[in-house]
């Protein structure tokens, strides 16, 4: 199939399976459409076109799309504002399991991820407000191996909602890191309903977080990843080093859509702050060009004079900063109409408040989408620490080396 045919096919697939957020005013309608979207992706195999064929027996790994096509696929999805494909499970758990999982782990977990059947949450961080808190421990007894401790876990952003999760969205699996008796970091891959695991949702504007209590949680040997210690932390911090087949992000296209809406809002009516806001809009548009240029370079072959590939955390960080820049500009642009909680209005089917329609509500929703997506990009690790260590060779921050779970 040539590129033009493929592009038509990809756009038709999206049109067939995703109605668009503007037609999904109520959160429950959005959630239902999301579930259908993920199901369609799984059935068609378009959830994992970036996976190498040998990583799983599933038909989903047979597409072997080139990098440019993967990027375009992400671009089309962003433009249509579909629920994201690059979920935590897809971008972190899958490469980890593919590279370091046992055969059993690969057989069980990868098809689940490809079909979006499992909602993962990541237990990397620990509560930072308890100075006496100890790291989560993995200890062995004659009866078996057990986890004990507390975590602040980030849940998969499958449905991109900032609301607290409801029953159907409750995490079903958890990756949890803990120190074993040899003081080595280990990663446990557990069902979230295992006896001894208690999840309590924590309200947070940037993704769905849980306070997790792990009370004598039994862990089977094949639920522990073989990778351990510093190598495990490095892999968790920078999963793209694990696999050459990551799905390249095209964040700029999602952010471009927000800027388009913002420009429409700013040019709709003129007021005394318009010129200042327009200047800020242009700054954001230049930053968008810069992000797009970075994305394009990330796809380029590593040949002279561009022999060094761009680090992926740089793209995430840039997208994150631009998202924040746009968010601040949205708040400034809407004036008092930044105050209404658009999702609460949708919840009760009360419709838009703004006299010109739902512009502010729509943009607020887009802001939360962007922030939610970006919050999942590095799982609570600071991308600057990763860049300093891995790309500038500046060595570990001594405090971070001692307490890797508290870098948030």
């Amino acid at each position: 199939m040539n590129e033009s045919d493929w592009q038509h096919q990809a756009q038709a697939f999206i049109a067939d399976h995703w109605p668009g957020p503007e037609r999904l005013a109520h959160p429950s309608a959005y959630q239902l459409a999301s579930a259908r979207w993920y199901e369609a992706l799984g059935v068609a195999g378009w959830s994992t076109p970036h996976w190498p064929a040998q990583s799983s027996g599933a038909a989903t790994s047979q597409l072997s799309w080139p990098k440019q096509r993967l990027y375009q696929w992400q671009m089309f999805c962003h433009q249509a504002r579909t629920p994201p494909i690059n979920t935590l499970a897809m971008s972190l758990i899958a490469p980890l399991v593919m590279t370091h999982g046992s055969e059993h782990q690969r057989e069980v977990l990868l098809p689940e991820i490809a079909a979006f059947d499992a909602h993962w949450c990541l237990g990397l961080l620990e509560p930072v407000n308890a100075p006496t808190a100890q790291p989560t421990r993995l200890h062995e007894t004659p009866a078996g191996t057990y986890l004990q401790g507390e975590k602040r876990a980030l849940a998969d952003g499958l449905l991109m909602s900032t609301e607290l999760p409801k029953d159907g969205l409750w995490p079903s699996r958890m990756l949890c890191i803990a120190l074993d008796e040899a003081q080595q970091w280990r990663a446990c891959l557990l069902p979230a309903d295992r006896r001894g695991i208690k999840l309590r949702p924590v309200a947070n504007a940037r993704g769905r977080w849980f306070h997790v209590v792990l009370d004598e949680v039994s862990v089977a040997p094949d639920e522990i990843l073989s990778l351990s210690g510093d190598a495990l932390l490095a892999a968790l911090a920078q999963p793209e080093t694990l696999s050459q087949s990551m799905l390249p992000e095209a964040s700029s296209f999602g952010l471009a859509e927000q800027l388009r809406l913002l420009r429409r809002e700013l040019t709709a009516t003129k007021h005394e702050d318009t010129d200042t806001l327009l200047t800020q809009l242009y700054e954001a548009e230049v930053a968008l060009q810069s992000l797009r240029a970075l994305e394009s370079r990330a796809l380029a072959p590593a040949t002279p004079p561009l022999a060094t590939p761009l680090p992926m955390p740089m793209l995430s960080l840039k997208a994150q900063e631009l998202g924040q820049q746009i968010g601040a500009l949205q708040l400034a642009s809407f004036g008092y109409y930044a105050l209404p909680d658009a999702s609460a209005l949708r919840e009760h089917n009360e419709g838009p408040i703004h006299p010109r329609g739902d512009a502010s509500g729509e943009t607020a929703m887009l802001t939360s989408q962007a922030l939610s997506a970006l919050a999942t990009s590095h799982y609570g690790w600071n991308p600057r620490d990763i860049l300093a260590r891995q790309w500038l060779g500046l060595g570990e921050n001594p405090q971070a080396a001692e307490e890797p779970s508290r870098q948030s």
Partner: protein, 376 residues
């Protein structure tokens, strides 16, 4: 965007990189900058021998046939070495105006000297009242007999002291800020009525204030069509932005890498200062500013090579905004992280910072180009 480079482009990049790394030491650069000429004539001859002075000109005109991508690859390397030789003024600006506006006869007459290194040239386009508006011109060219008489004042003419050929913008009709009615002339700086006041700039280059009092030129001196000089000037200046922006990318790379290396070595409180997280994050931000600028450099160069028009102009302005912002950030932080050493004359860091500061101002600063970007 297609980032695959041709074999010729890669070879050009490698040859300039080798020259800058092996033959262009900072101490020599400083010595040459302080000389009467302000640069090294031997280096200039080397540039000519290696064909670098002909890079942006077509093969029909005796050049390499390169475009904006080749120009960026070259200038980025010049930025690494803080090259002081007047490539921008002679080749990109004066040569560019002749390339875009000149007749075949003018190109045949004027370009060979630039390409073989025997002619130093300058573009006199700025005026004191104009700030960054290329169309704001009070210098007049009045038709007289078969030629014109030029009267006016041109400000901060880069390479003015060494120039043997100056391309001057003057108004042949219209009001002070009209884009129509601007004409370009190639003049001899030794002609009667031309006077210069020469000075060094803060980044160690040379420039002149040029006064034109009843300067008589013949009709053959007109570059392009009478009254239609503005589009030529605009395209030439945009190529100038592409060139200095790329130079800034090279300067930034040098600054962030030297800063990282310094922070690895310099110890405070019993350990290398590069181990402090707050400093690591600053260096990461410097690294990011450089990579963003470099990415926009390629984007702008590719847009320029696709064809000059509003899309290319917009990409150029976005690039210039980024360069202004990033150059300031990288320069300030390089100085800051080097401590007091950062501003000393003997250390190269402050010199790179000065060049970056001047590059922000050249051809319109970040604020000016943000406005242009928004308007396009």
């Amino acid at each position: 965007m297609d980032f695959s480079f041709t074999e010729e482009q890669t070879m050009l990049h490698e040859s300039i990189e080798r020259f800058v790394q092996s033959d262009y030491g900072f101490d020599d650069r400083q010595k040459n900058a302080a000389s009467d000429l302000g640069y090294d004539a031997a280096n200039w001859n080397t540039f000519a021998e290696l064909g670098w002075l002909g890079v942006p000109f077509s093969e029909a005109d005796g050049g390499f046939g390169g475009g904006a991508v080749e120009s960026s690859l070259m200038m980025e390397q010049f930025g690494h070495g803080l090259v002081i030789e007047p490539y921008l003024a002679t080749v990109v600006l004066a040569g560019g105006a002749i390339k875009h506006g000149g007749s075949e006869a003018q190109k045949a007459k004027l370009l060979p000297g630039i390409i073989d290194g025997s002619t130093q040239a300058a573009l006199a386009y700025a005026e004191p009242q104009a700030r960054f508006n290329l169309a704001d011109i009070t210098t007049t060219a009045t038709a007289e007999g078969d030629g014109y008489v030029l009267n006016g004042y041109k400000a901060v003419v880069l390479n003015g002291p060494a120039a043997q050929l100056i391309v001057v913008s003057a108004r042949t009709s219209g009001e002070q800020r009209d884009q129509d009615g601007i004409t370009l002339f190639a003049i001899d700086p030794k002609a009667a009525g031309v006077s210069r006041r020469d000075y060094p700039t803060v980044d160690a280059f040379r420039a002149s204030e040029i006064t034109l009092e009843g300067v008589k030129v013949d009709a053959d001196s007109v570059i392009g069509e009478v009254g239609q000089g503005y589009p030529v000037l605009e395209q030439t200046i945009d190529e100038g932005i592409m060139a200095v922006g790329s130079e800034a990318v090279g300067c930034m790379e040098k600054l962030y890498k030297e800063t990282v290396e310094y922070c690895r070595q310099r110890e405070q409180f019993g350990q290398a200062i590069g181990k402090f997280q707050v400093l690591q994050h600053r260096m990461v931000d410097m690294f990011m500013e450089h990579e963003q600028s470099k990415s926009l450099m390629f984007m702008a160069a590719m847009r320029m090579d696709e064809g000059y028009g509003p899309e290319a102009q917009k990409a150029i302005s976005a690039f210039k905004v980024q360069i202004g912002k990033s150059g300031k950030f990288v320069g300030q932080n390089a100085v800051q992280l080097h401590g007091g050493m950062g501003m000393t004359e003997e250390l190269n860091i402050g010199h790179y910072f000065k060049r970056l500061t001047i590059i922000d101002t050249l051809f319109g600063n970040a604020d000016f180009h943000l406005k242009r970007f928004g308007a396009l």
